[in-house]
Symmetry: C2
Subunit: 126 residues, 2 copies
């Protein structure tokens, strides 16, 4: 689960590089072993379930800008989509057992975490 100071979706930054605050990723004890090897400074991809998204929306105005024509959600980054998964590339700041602090993740407090992966770097796979 994401533990963030942002509790109101209206306050959440649209993308992480637009001012999202640092937050904690909080894991269940039964996946403790899966976290082994993560280190501060690592770039990771966090997959979340955007639990407040509307799943019956197929088209949106990109970035909520009504002056732009409607576009299919698969051609946007809208949170509203049939399977509302969030993909967030972030940097690990600190690790405290089952809690991982990351920089700039644009999800509100309480967002479920589905998966975490090592990010593909410029030098390929680790």
């Amino acid at each position: 689960m994401v533990e963030s100071p942002v509790a109101d979706p209206a306050q959440a930054a649209r993308q992480g590089d637009e001012g999202a605050p640092d937050c904690w990723l909080v894991f269940d004890a039964d996946v403790r072993e899966a976290l082994d090897g993560l280190r501060p400074g690592d770039d990771i991809v966090v997959l979340t379930w955007l639990h407040l998204a509307e799943r019956n929306v197929l088209q949106v105005h990109p970035r909520g800008d009504a002056s732009r024509p409607m576009r299919g959600v698969f051609a946007t980054r809208s949170q509203h989509r049939p399977n509302p998964l969030g993909v967030h590339q972030v940097t690990v700041l600190a690790i405290d057992d089952l809690r991982i602090r990351v920089q700039g993740l644009e999800a509100i407090d309480g967002t479920p975490i589905i998966d975490v992966k090592s990010a593909l770097g410029a030098h390929g796979q680790r």
Copy 2:
């Protein structure tokens, strides 16, 4: 669903830039509107459900190399993990109604598609 010439997991490239073949993404008619706005040349992120992965694996030898120490799956790109989602950044080659041809997606034939997003480019959001 992914339609790929690769049907055997042992033949699948470990990552898309290591020789994965072009393949088709095939969508259901009920999400036709969500595809509107996608064009050849677009970079997209495809999320898949890696249906053959082992969900009870928490640690692996990175890249299957037994000479490397075991590491938590959240610090790797292993397909084996509690929620086996695949994240694939690929380029759209062609679009034929509900079928989208993409370059270099490392998933075997029949892999379910969960979501598609516009990739974040060097110039930000579209």
